[in-house]
Amino acid sequence: MSNPAAESGSQQKLQLRSPGRMYVKAVFTGYKRGLRNQHENTALLRIEGVEKRQEVDFYLGKRCAYVYKGKRLTSVPGKGKEKSRVRVIWGRVTRPHGNSGAVRAKFSTNLPPAAMGKRVRVMLYPSRI
């Protein structure tokens, strides 16, 4: 097939490749609420491309992440020495919300209000397909 020299070169090339986006884009639209009261423990997400309640089934149980940057450097999990300004709040999509494809999610800590209108990443795992 291919000669060894070309192969080792291509191996190096392969290692530098990274896939593109491995998550679905979503927006944090607000907390679960009635008109005059809101419950911050449940966040509402609008997932891009999901317009109907029937389409939401794929996303149930998927993990979602609100990624943001802080000012202080914090340690990166899994890499002792490395520090980064990037921080994450992890959560999971729990159930549909309404008929138009919105979704409820619960995070390990409540999402900060500053996150409203910002990007939340809905991962493709835990996968059921």
């Binding site: 896939p19 593109g20 491995m22 679905v24 491309g49």
Partner: protein, 263 residues
């Protein structure tokens, strides 16, 4: 008499447990009747152990003591225990005993069969399309790139972090080495640390993280499996397309909606 002789041969037990619990189907009285034990003559056991029994039942024990003019012996009286249980400790009957991890049922999604191409969703190999070889005993899936095509080695991966595509490769001719099991892929804890936890005398602060080096057997197995797998890919109808497919990476592009996609 003939009946008695027949019954001495092994036969099915007359009593059985209910649902793997401690409870038996027939009570002692019923079994007595079913076995017709009233017909069996009782054999009197000889009174061999009566002397030992008497000693145990006695209120004191005779012990020898040293020193002359001491009498040589003392009767040590048994004390009553400080507290006696007020209730007989009953053993809790485990009607549904706790299952250890080894006994857990391992399931696999119906669309994941050996030879299926999977998309890895997380980890250092995320986005890569890899070939499923088999499910290991722990339930994890054994996959390989093949390494030549996408750099993914023989590796364990969880079902939950994988999308199973419809693409299949016929790997019936691919012989996997026997030694590829969970123990083979288990993470190696450094020897010093394990000694420290066991013996306690080794220096626990000694840095013993040598860089991970691929073992010879790993290289060997990788080469063997990949060779067989590349052969299977070549043999299948669309070899060149499969090769470039496995080399490519998956990602979500603009406008793509995973819930509507057919994988």
């Amino acid at each position: 008499l003939q009946q008695m002789a027949k019954s001495s041969a092994p036969h099915k037990p007359k009593n059985s447990a209910i649902n793997a619990s401690r409870l038996m189907k027939y009570s002692r009285a019923r079994i007595f009747q079913r076995k017709a034990a009233y017909k069996v003559k009782k054999v009197k056991t000889p009174a061999k152990k009566s002397a030992e029994k008497a000693a145990a039942a006695a209120a004191f024990v005779v012990k020898k003591i040293g020193g002359d003019k001491n009498g040589g012996e003392r009767k040590v009286y048994k004390k009553t225990p400080k507290s006696l249980p007020t209730q007989v400790a009953s053993r809790k009957v485990q009607l549904r005993p706790k299952k250890t991890f080894k006994k857990h049922v391992r399931r696999i999604r119906s669309n994941l069969a050996p030879g299926a191409v999977l998309i890895l969703l997380a980890g250092r190999h995320k986005g890569k399309r890899v070939v499923l070889l088999k499910q290991l005993e722990s339930g994890l899936l054994l996959v390989t790139g093949p390494r030549k095509l996408n750099g993914c080695p023989l590796r364990r991966v969880s079902q939950r972090y994988v999308i199973g595509t419809k693409t299949r490769i016929d790997i019936s001719k691919v012989a996997l080495p026997e030694r590829l099991n969970d123990a083979y892929f288990r993470r190696q804890r450094s020897a010093k640390k394990s000694a420290a936890s066991a013996g306690g005398s080794a220096d626990i602060f000694a840095k013993s993280d040598a860089a991970y080096a691929v073992s010879a057997e790993r290289r060997e197995d990788q080469a063997a499996v990949d060779k067989a797998l590349m052969g299977a890919i070549k043999a299948s109808g669309d070899g060149p397309m499969l090769r470039s497919y496995l080399r490519s990476l998956f990602s979500i592009k603009s406008g793509q909606r995973p819930h509507a996609m057919v994988f």
